[in-house]
Symmetry: C2
Subunit: 396 residues, 2 copies
């Protein structure tokens, strides 16, 4: 059932231990579900309760600790020995008197790790302020440090197999986008378009299926295209409105996001003009990408184009992508923005999202790409431009 | 666009302030997206970055603080004055040098709230250990206390309008379950069943659409029915295996979960027997529900039935449900389990999930219900039993 060979998991673990050593960490407590999956294979929707993968510098295998009813999911999806899968009792779930971190601290103490240098993912969604307080009070002799992005940075450069999964995800993204573009029209409900998108994203292709993306389809319409993160309602689309569609294909938890903008009826001149500028900037940024270039140089290439047209944008134009779980498909490491000096290397992968949101409308046209030996390869494959649904469909 | 009238939001806010007063809290910093929505109406997939709703005991309106590009989503979905919607700059996103909590602390200081008694949701998914550290270091004169479930407890008893949304969600859950039961069969891929479920859950009914549930459809099959939180793959179902289906209908972010178990081909005798015991226990627990009974008494009614058959279960058999966002549709307040002395009151709502997971298989047959004046009303409506897909479909 494992999506990668044992060699690949062990290489990931070795790289993680090297980073731990560089950062003076003996014991790494991993709560980010993507990082847990990356190192162990663990895959289940159980991150809504406390769970953890523990990497100890001088131990061969990580230890999985989670809720009792999820232990069999760990047996089914990881490469870990059964002895390294430790369940905590069910009465620790949402109980004021017993916190899973009390149990975990006890285990760490039992196995002689309570006085060591312990790295925790302070900024992880699933490591609450309460979890940290519980750990600290139970392990008074440990020395804690923040290792939020330690494993995320190991994930930055993808293997060939990871890229293969992202290419599949990109093909699935195209299927979802096609379903959206075909079904958006006057009189159709937003929820029915969302249902069609989901159907495409989850069925995937006849050769490989789709997994759930870490973010649901985002579908702001009309005036709400001025903001990116609204979902859908059961309202019907009207003529002469625009719709943003941001989605991702997902396969084996690897993502390739893609966004397009649809105009129902003839678009306003300014929207049309803006979309052309956006595509010009997008293409210029893609042309800039190659190993040795920094993230901020890619943004600068984009920025030079839009500045020429009198447009400014203060948000980043891209971020590293790959393996992930809700609520985000971004890796939280490299961003394509001013001040990010990350040097591009082959098989880094990004969602390039030079979207523009104005006072009363917005345009999103995005691509997912990987860095190659000499430039970049766009993973997603969909007509790049504003899509007009005006009786006859057209891409402008 | 608001799903509730202003009077209802204001009543919720008043109850929240009463709880704050009881707990000696002047300023409540709300980061749980369900709690933000409950009090303000805010609805967007933006909880993957720091955001907050601030309730101040002596101020009429809450303050929303979030990312700049999401401010228009707050204008579009909340009842707050524009002045109470405060964006933080885009360069605070995933930036080691600038944390959104630095910005929020500055605002709290500017408006004279930096030396007060501040409640924070320590156990919320989206209030990281790092966020708490940043707040504490920026507000050294504030007095912090844990208010994780303060608003969750205000949510415990639903209004008539909330129950109406949950009934719609329950009808949608039935549509999703019907899609699952119809499409599961030998040779069909798990992902294609998941796609059909999604299509049903998101389209909803002709009268009202579906929203995204806070948990994706859970579909463990075969030996993996011994654990509940696995999703799906692109493997094909084989004959003589069982499938657990746990899903929820969602409408206006209100959930009604529902689970059933399907046997492809004739079920094993023990599975059939267990499912009958489970339904007997489920019915007995439902019969027990009425105002004045405690949560643990409902569990005891179930437990008496299964003990008689020599079965034991250490996990809870239900939890409060309603409004929610990923990663969980449970409210984290009342649980149907030993030791929970919460007294049932009309319009509390629960997912009753007396599922049984054994060494090599499991059975899930669940219902969502609300407490009425005299007993309980089951919201979901689907044949209650093990579903056999054996050429002719049958419910046993």
């Amino acid at each position: 059932m494992l999506p990668f060979g044992l060699t690949e998991y062990k290489a990931r673990l070795e790289k993680t231990k090297e980073s731990m050593s560089d950062q003076g960490i003996d014991v790494l407590l991993i709560t980010n579900p993507a990082n847990m999956n990356y190192l162990s294979g663990y895959d289940g929707w159980s991150f809504y309760v406390d769970q953890m993968l523990i990497v100890i510098s001088d131990e061969d295998q990580p230890i999985w600790i989670g809720r009792k009813m999820d232990a069999k999911a760990a047996e089914a999806t990881t490469w870990l020995y059964k002895d390294n899968i430790i369940p905590y009792p069910e009465d620790h779930i949402q109980n004021d008197l017993k916190h899973p971190m009390d149990f975990i601290a006890k285990i760490l103490t039992q196995i002689g790790q309570s006085k060591r240098k312990i790295g925790v993912e302070m900024g992880s969604y699933y490591f609450s302020a309460l979890a940290y307080e519980k750990l600290k009070s139970n392990l008074p002799n440990a020395q804690f440090s923040d290792a939020t992005l330690l494993v995320n940075y190991v994930r930055l450069i993808k293997s060939e197999k990871e890229i293969e999964y992202m290419k599949r995800a990109a093909r699935i993204a195209g299927i979802g986008m096609q379903a959206a573009v075909e079904s958006i029209q006057e009189g159709v409900r937003e929820c029915d378009v969302a249902a069609n998108i989901y159907s495409g994203l989850i069925s995937g292709t006849p050769e490989y299926g789709g997994d759930y993306p870490s973010i649901v389809p985002l579908l702001p319409a009309g005036k709400n295209t001025s903001t990116p993160h609204l979902t859908w309602t059961d309202r019907k689309y009207t003529n002469n409105e625009m719709v943003l569609i941001e989605l991702a294909g997902c396969h084996q938890r690897y993502h390739s996001p893609l966004a397009r903008t649809v105009s129902i009826g003839k678009p306003a001149d300014k929207a049309l003009e803006t979309s052309k500028i956006l595509v010009e900037g997008l293409n210029t940024a893609l042309d800039k990408v190659k190993p040795g270039i920094t993230c901020e140089e890619v943004e600068l290439a984009w920025n030079t184009v839009i500045s020429k047209h009198g447009i400014s944008k203060d948000s980043r134009i891209g971020y590293s992508i790959g393996l992930n779980y809700p609520p985000d498909w971004g890796e939280h490491t490299a961003s394509l923005r001013k001040g990010d000096h990350t040097v591009l290397q082959p098989n880094m992968a990004f969602h390039l999202i030079p979207a523009l949101w104005f006072e009363d409308y917005g345009i999103e046209i995005t691509e997912s790409f990987r860095v190659t030996e000499t430039g970049c390869e766009v993973l997603t494959d969909f007509e790049r431009g504003l899509i007009v649904k005006d009786h006859l469909q057209a891409i402008i």
